[in-house]
Each structure stands twice: as structure tokens, then as C-alpha cells.
């Protein structure tokens, strides 16, 4: 039994299902991300939890209480909006104090809690500024402080970092996690950025076309993606169509060594392997021969496309200070058989 539970929650807009039959149980203190491409229903799901969108069906429970039909101002959840939705005519301190004011918290306590919260998000010296006088990162922290000051049972974040530039976004990821850890609030974050979801969440929920397709810890999600979509949406993945033969995957005449799989001989399968699980070897060595088709330098690593008999394969080579093979050079590819995952294609005999 989770702290926040969604049971069969769905939302239909004029015959179109935006969210279908979502089941989710979030434990107290957990940081869960809803990850998916735009239009997958993740924001609608968040808005249903916040009470801003009424579900067409299903039940939402908070700490054993049914909140499905409760008005948003009675739920008491903290929400950080994508646009931050700060009140432009109020100072930072007034923005943060608003929720306490609505709860009729006495003046002295209100001031103390606002000051505490502003200190937590490192904005104590900007309390008297107006939102328009703040940078994007500062506004975002005001939005977080405003949502957290009411001590909500659950904090909901809607794409909180998407309006920030890359460098700041990375900083704020750590900042967000630090704040969440120190306050211990159960948090649900909506994002389309897989790196963001993987780096700060305890668990990641992947949504595709209104459905939840996988709920897992970031590492497991990456290593054992449940669907073809997840394998390519979360990180990069080489996917090769072939036939199961001799305990390996036959692709265009070459049999690739793989993890053992419970598949009938001759069945159509898809082999998948992450670029960083492949190792570059000198020509003639390794399990598969190929030629470098293109090479990108990405700082921490190189990304090579190697043309082989089995097709083009992406290979990630860590930057060890030595340049890997150049474009046009023949190379060999090697991998641990266990890292080549095999799944029977849908419809094929298992």
C-alpha cells in the first residue's frame, strides 16, 4: 500500500484517451519521475494528482484517503509549474508566504517559516525582489520554496527544469535532489528528459501514449528496458533484427554471440546492445569486423558508427586520452555475450 496511489486512473478528452488505466503506488519520501515524450499523458497525470484535471475514471488515494474528487485547494499538495506561475505583483517573500496566508498561519510564524524556506533554497537575500527581477534559476527556486513552505505531503514538479539552460539545469538537478532529501517530501516529477529522470529519481515511470509501460529504478530501467520504445528513448541502443540459431543471433549470415534466451531455433528475434557495451579492437580481432563510418567527439567519450555485415552499429568509446580509429579504418568489435539481449519478436513463435 503506497502513500500516494493511483488505481485505474484515466482521462478521456472528447473520445481521445489522454491517460489510460494508470496504476501507481508511491512510497512515503520517494522521488518518482514520470518520463515520456510530449503528448504521452504525463502532465495530465500530474494535473489529476494536483486536482486541476478531473479524472474520467479510477481512484486517487493519499495516505489512505480518497482524494479523487477533492478540490485542489483542499488537497494541500505542493505544485511547481513549468512556467513557475509566480505571482508577478508580489515579492519573493510574499509569493512564498501566500500558501501560509491562505492557511491563516499567524504573522510571526509565517515570517519565520518563509525565512527558513528561503534559506533552504539560498534566496534569503532576494526576499524583497519581484519575480521579474530574478534569473530563471532563481525564479525556479522561488517556485519550489512556495510549494514546499506549506509542508505538503506530496510535491509535484511539472517539467521544472525545462526552461533553464543546459549548465543551470544540471546544477538544479542536484539542487532539487538536495532539497528533496533534506525535507523528505514525497515527490513526483514530470519530465521528457531521460538523463534528468535517471539522475535524480528513486524510480522512473515511463509513459507511452497514455499508458505506463515500465516502472523501475533508473539502473534497471536502463539495463532492462521493457519495450523497444524505452530501449531507444532511455539512452542509445543498437537494435538488430535476426533469427535465433546455434545459441546466438544470426544477422545477415553472421551469428552474434548473445545471452542465453528461451527462444525456439529459427524464430525471428531482435538483438539489442548498448553502444558502451561494445569494445573496439584492432582489425581481425573481436567477434565482428567492420569499418568506421563516422566519428563524433563528445568530450567524455567518442561515438562511432561502425558499418558491419550485420548493419550500422553505434559504439561508444571512453575518452582515455588516445584517439580511437578514424573514419574509414577497419576495426573489430567485441562484447560480453551476456550484454547482447535477445527478445522474440511479437507474433513469432516462442
Amino acid at each position: 500500500m503506497g502513500f500516494l496511489t493511483l488505481e485505474g486512473v484515466s482521462k478521456v478528452y472528447g473520445g481521445l484517451a489522454a491517460v489510460r488505466d494508470v496504476d501507481l503506488a508511491v512510497a512515503r519520501g520517494e522521488f518518482v519521475s514520470l518520463l515520456g515524450p510530449s503528448g504521452c499523458g504525463k502532465t495530465t497525470t500530474l494535473q489529476m494528482i494536483a486536482g486541476l484535471v478531473e479524472p474520467t475514471g479510477g481512484r486517487i488515494g493519499l495516505d489512505g484517503r480518497d482524494i479523487t474528487r477533492e478540490k485542489p485547494n483542499r488537497r494541500g499538495l505542493g505544485v511547481v509549474f513549468q512556467s513557475y506561475a509566480l505571482f508577478p505583483h508580489m515579492t519573493v517573500a510574499e509569493n512564498v508566504a501566500f500558501g501560509l496566508e491562505m492557511r491563516k498561519v499567524p504573522r510571526a510564524e509565517r515570517d519565520r517559516r518563509v525565512a527558513e524556506m528561503l534559506a533552504l533554497v539560498h534566496l534569503a537575500n532576494l526576499a524583497e525582489r519581484y519575480p521579474r527581477q530574478l534569473s530563471g534559476g532563481q525564479r525556479q527556486r522561488v517556485a519550489i520554496a512556495r510549494a514546499l513552505v506549506i509542508a505538503p505531503p506530496v510535491l509535484l514538479l511539472d517539467e521544472p527544469l525545462s526552461n533553464l539552460d543546459a549548465k543551470l539545469r544540471e546544477e538544479m538537478q542536484f539542487e532539487l535532489r538536495r532539497i528533496q532529501r533534506s525535507v523528505g517530501t514525497t515527490t513526483i516529477m514530470v519530465t521528457h528528459d531521460q538523463a534528468e529522470a535517471l539522475s535524480i529519481s528513486d524510480r522512473v515511470v515511463v509513459m507511452e501514449a497514455g499508458r505506463m509501460t515500465q516502472i523501475d529504478a533508473p539502473y534497471r530501467l536502463y539495463e532492462q528496458p521493457a519495450t523497444a520504445f524505452i530501449s531507444t528513448f532511455v539512452g542509445k541502443m543498437n537494435r538488430l533484427a535476426g533469427v535465433w540459431r546455434d545459441g546466438g543471433v544470426a544477422v545477415a549470415g553472421t551469428v552474434l554471440a548473445s545471452a542465453p534466451a528461451d527462444v525456439a531455433a529459427g524464430a525471428a528475434v531482435t538483438a539489442s546492445i548498448r553502444p558502451e557495451k561494445l569494445h573496439l579492437r584492432p582489425m581481425g580481432e573481436g567477434r565482428l569486423a567492420g569499418r568506421v563510418a563516422s566519428r563524433f567527439f563528445l568530450g567524455g567519450h567518442w561515438l562511432l558508427t561502425v558499418g558491419t555485415e550485420a548493419g550500422d552499429i553505434l559504439v561508444s568509446v571512453p575518452n582515455t586520452g588516445e584517439e580511437p580509429a578514424r573514419e574509414g579504418e577497419p576495426v573489430g568489435l567485441d562484447w560480453a555475450p551476456a550484454s547482447l539481449r535477445v527478445e522474440a519478436d511479437a507474433g513469432a513463435a516462442a
Binding site: 485547494n73 505544485v79 501566500f98 510549494a147
Partner: protein
């Protein structure tokens, strides 16, 4: 070099000529006229006098009409704000086909001549009009509506409403739609969210709308002329009567100048207040 100085002046000249010809010159002529002496027997004389201003400012008849003008314009502005602000809010919350339809409904009346609309109201409010017929049907006696201040205010509100709705609506369009939702999630009721978060944001639109409505109401001519009758005069109809019935053009000019100055003072003072507020809110 000389060319670059002359070009902007030349480009500005058609507008300047138009403005000078249609606004400045008549205004100056009116101002001069208001200081010319007048005699009922011989007409406008060739000597200067302040008598018209003294006459207007010392006669309770004229002061009463000025006071009525101010009062009715202020009342119209207040009612327009009370109706127009919620109307604009509802409009901004409408979905796409309905929003354009109702916006057209609000702006539509502007396409009909004010005179036609005033006659429409006089038919509705007359002693045998639709309103009195309805009152009669439910057993209430006839009410005198036409040729009262009530009739003038009702018709003015009808005519001026679009000038209030549109600025408020524009202000609402600029509002982050999530801002109200943010207030709800923080525990604000629908009413508190409107009062504490939405209202301060649209107050600028409300204030500029009020300025337009007040200015137009205070100088309205057709509506008070047709719905106020001969007895209930407002500033613009008074000026008309002095010119066209009394034929005392200098007195009419003096009244016109006084109304213009009063209107200018009120609106400039109001505008200053609005701008001070804008500076505080928008930085």
C-alpha cells in the same frame, strides 16, 4: 546632411497638417470665440470679455448640468467596470469557437450607429415600450424611465461596455493561465484566487478601460440628447443648445472650453495615478 533633417519633417507633415487643421485650428477658434462679447440684439461683437465664463461659473443652472455630467459619467464607468470585468474574465475562460462568437457579440453593437441604438432604447423604455408593457403584465404600474437619468445611464453602459471589456480582456490574455491554478494549489478558494492573484493583474486594464469610458461618457451627445429629452441636459447637449437654439455662440464656446479643461484635468490626474501604479507593478 540637410536632406536627412528635412526627410522626417516632410514625412510627418501630412499628419501634422491634418492634426493642425482638424484639431488645433478649431480649438483655437473656439477659445477666441469664448472671449468675444455677445448681444442678443446685434449678435457677436468685436470686443473682449470674460463675462461668459463668469456667467457659467456663477449660475447654478450650468453648475447643475456639469455636476450631472460628472455624476452620470462616473456612475457609467463604475457600472461598466462591475459588468465588464467579470464579462472579460468569462470570455477569457471560454473555449475556442465560443470565445470568438461572444467577442463578436460584445463588439457587435459598435457596428450600429449610436443614434440608432439610442432610438432602440427609447422604444424599449418609453411609456408604452417593452419594459413598461412587461411591468404592466405582471401587475406593476407604469414606471417613468424615458427622459430620466436612469435611461441615460442604461444606454451609456450599453454603448461603453466594449471599451471596458476589451482592455480587461487584453490584460487577461497576458496572464499566465497557470497562475490561478497555482493559487488554488496553495489553498486559495476560487474567490481568493480571483481577488488576490487575478484582480491585481488585470487592474491595469480596468483602469485604462475606465479612463476611456469616463472620457467618452462625459462628452456623450447622442444618448443624453435622445434619452434625456429637452430637460435633462448634459455638457455636450448644453453646448449644442447654446449654439443652435440660443444662438449664443460665445457662451457655448465658453462652456465647451470649460468642459474640455475639466475633462482634461480629471483624466490627466487619473492617468497619473494609473501610471504610478504601473511603475510599481511592472518596474
Amino acid at each position: 546632411m540637410s536632406r536627412s533633417v528635412a526627410t522626417p519633417l516632410m514625412l510627418a507633415s501630412p499628419g501634422a497638417v491634418l492634426f493642425a487643421g482638424l484639431v488645433i485650428v478649431p480649438l483655437v477658434l473656439t477659445l477666441i470665440l469664448s472671449f468675444l462679447a455677445y448681444d442678443h440684439a446685434t449678435g457677436i461683437k468685436d470686443s473682449w470679455t470674460l463675462a461668459h465664463y463668469v456667467h457659467v461659473l456663477s449660475d447654478s443652472y450650468y453648475l447643475g448640468i456639469f455636476w450631472r455630467t460628472l455624476r452620470l459619467a462616473a456612475l457609467t464607468t463604475l457600472i461598466c467596470a462591475l459588468i465588464g470585468a467579470p464579462e472579460a474574465y468569462i470570455l477569457s475562460r471560454m473555449r475556442s469557437p465560443w470565445r470568438s462568437v461572444f467577442l463578436l457579440v460584445i463588439i457587435g453593437p459598435l457596428l450600429v450607429s449610436v443614434v440608432v441604438r439610442a432610438f432602440g432604447w427609447s422604444m424599449l423604455l418609453g411609456s408604452t415600450g417593452l419594459v413598461n408593457a412587461a411591468l404592466h403584465a405582471i401587475g406593476l404600474g407604469p414606471v417613468r424611465l424615458l427622459y430620466t437619468e436612469t435611461a441615460i445611464v442604461i444606454a451609456l453602459v450599453h454603448v461603453m461596455l466594449p471599451f471596458m471589456v476589451i482592455p480587461v480582456w487584453t490584460a487577461l490574455q497576458k496572464l499566465d493561465p497557470m497562475i490561478e491554478a497555482a493559487a488554488w494549489t496553495l489553498g486559495a478558494s476560487r474567490f481568493s484566487a480571483l481577488r488576490r492573484v487575478v484582480m491585481p493583474q488585470v487592474s491595469m486594464g480596468l483602469l485604462s478601460g475606465s479612463l476611456i469610458v469616463f472620457g467618452l461618457s462625459a462628452s456623450a451627445f447622442a444618448i443624453p440628447g435622445l434619452l434625456g429629452g429637452r430637460r435633462l441636459k448634459m455638457a455636450a447637449t448644453l453646448v449644442y443648445d447654446e449654439y443652435m437654439h440660443e444662438l449664443n455662440w460665445p457662451l457655448g464656446a465658453a462652456i465647451a472650453i470649460l468642459v474640455l479643461v475639466a475633462n482634461l484635468v480629471i483624466m490627466l490626474a487619473y492617468n497619473r495615478a494609473v501610471e504610478a501604479r504601473a511603475r510599481r507593478m511592472l518596474g
